[in-house]
């Protein structure tokens, strides 16, 4: 009797836990499913057909959004910005983090804490002076202006994370390379960078998320439609045709899918990233 009661309690506990987790998981997935579903409908059926799986699949929205609404261009712009900013951050941050961790020069701590402080101080209105500066430099409506701004945004976090990683990394291989006559730059490129791959994966995914999803600076700095990234294009599209939901949903699908796929592919690095973050901070 007692054992049966104990088992019954355990089963009901397991059931209620799964019920809670399952319910929340459902609310996480359903909006995305609904977006995907509506992107396959026409303007006529989307308002009336409420079946879970639509009765007829219609691919026209994706063609329309890519060609007529030029989302192909915006998609490529987003890819260009994300790829350039992420590679710039990986190179610049790993150079700096390597130097902070391994090399000696006067004022090292000062410069390091300068980057750390920038991460701690929230500056919510900084887009105003940043816009003024970019305007002064004549970089409004240029790819390079936006790329430089966004590179700076991700720099502090990436330097801190990589430095923490280098600090814990064994120096044996680097010492061996030095004895073999490899220069500092060579050691950074041939030894340290490949060994830091797990930490690089973390900064790649977080910075890619950040750039792909960024809106405020894109809104201010890129008014030329040929240079707009996806997020801004979606906002403009919604402003222009507020009722074409199927096409809007197709656009949202295009903007959401690459980042969801990147996340699913690099998922294990995210949990790892949080444990680095915990030790770094």
């Amino acid at each position: 009797m007692a054992i049966n009661k104990y088992r019954a309690m355990k089963v009901s506990k397991g059931f209620s836990i799964h019920l809670l987790l399952g319910l929340v998981a459902f609310t996480c997935i359903f909006p995305l499913f609904w977006m995907l579903r509506c992107s396959f409908m026409t303007l006529e059926t989307v308002f009336t057909d409420k079946s879970i799986i639509p009765t007829a699949f219609h691919f026209g929205n994706f063609i329309k959004v890519l060609t007529e609404e030029k989302f192909g261009i915006y998609f490529m712009n987003s890819v260009i910005y994300t790829a350039s900013v992420v590679s710039a951050i990986v190179i610049i941050a790993s150079l700096a983090a390597y130097s902070f961790s391994r090399l000696r020069f006067p004022g090292k701590n000062f410069f390091f804490y300068m980057f750390v402080a920038a991460m701690m101080i929230p500056l919510p209105g900084s887009f105003v002076p940043l816009y003024v500066l970019i305007n002064k430099l004549n970089l409004v409506n240029t790819r390079i202006g936006y790329i430089l701004c966004m590179t700076n945004v991700g720099l502090s976090m990436s330097i801190l994370l990589l430095k923490t990683f280098f600090d814990k990394m064994n120096t044996d291989l680097e010492d061996a390379a030095r004895i073999d006559g490899c220069g500092k730059l060579g050691i950074w490129w041939h030894v340290a960078l490949p060994l830091a791959r797990p930490a690089i994966a973390v900064i790649v995914i977080f910075n890619a998320l950040n750039v792909w999803n960024e809106f405020i600076l894109a809104q201010l700095l890129l008014t030329d439609t040929r240079l707009m990234p996806l997020q801004k294009a979606l906002m403009e599209f919604q402003g222009a045709h507020s009722v074409d939901y199927p096409v809007l949903m197709a656009g949202l699908t295009l903007a959401a899918m690459p980042i969801i796929l990147l996340y699913l592919a690099m998922q294990k690095h995210i949990v790892k990233g949080f444990s680095y973050g915990a030790t770094a901070g």
């Binding site: 308002f47 009336t48 920038a118 500056l123 720099l155 500092k184 950074w188 792909w212 996340y263 949990v271």
Partner: protein, 309 residues
Amino acid sequence: MTSLAQRKKFTMGDAKESLVNFSFILPAVILFSIFYIYPFYDIFRLSLHEWNGIDAQKYYVHFDNFKELFKDGNWWRSMWHAGIITFFALTFQNVMAFALALACDQKIRMKKFYRMIFFIPPVLSEVVVGFIWMWILNGDMQSGEYIGILNYLLDKMGLHHLITSWLSNPDTVLTCIALVHCWKGFGWGFIMLFAGLQTIDAQLYEAARVDGANSWQIFKNITIPMMVPVILVVIFLTVLGSMQVFVLIKAMVGQGLQDYTSVPVSEIFESMIGLKRFGYACAQGVSFGVTLITISLVFKLLSTKVKQY
């Protein structure tokens, strides 16, 4: 001994080596100086001026922008709205995140699956999340049927009294925004709290159980004290993130219902783009930043206090 002697004498070789080592951080320092330090200085300078952002002439107005801001009802109202959203995030979102992290920390199946799903909303952009929910919460009707799925389901379930146009009703719009913000954000808290729970030594739990402690006692006397540092970080990040919400609201309601949905960042945007008052926008940014820094310093103090126990 020899190394100590070498260190004392700073030779030309050392200077050259320092210069080479410094050159590794040079690209980062240059970018940082131009795109962080200079704007940081500029926001303070501009906040003391009246300037439309175009003219060469800026008028130095001393602290007038700040005085005006202090009496600006719209500004305080926007702070109030952000405060309400932050309140939702601190209570509902964080309790939810903690409950889910605890549930995932049990010995159950499909743990990895749930963990994977819960972090999908945080990877989406605010624009995407805002538009998806705007469509779900749509309050319009077409040929006798509700077009938003939420109202449609409420209608079919017979809950007619709950049906409303969620995002154009002043009574519901801010709550809807806050809940969508929680939906998008709980995954961050979840994953940090989950990572924290994983670091607690299982032997502690076992020892407590051997001593006859029940689940509630274990939770209160082991889990909570061990998790305090992580909880504080999550609270801190929740406050900073929620106070600065803006793009989500812009996507969900656009320019509509400004009186009920304005937040500090949207006010800064409006001062800059709409009113062309760059100085005033900077003053708003500075005082908002100072508010947030004060909050974070209080948390810093709290967390060092707590860690001492």
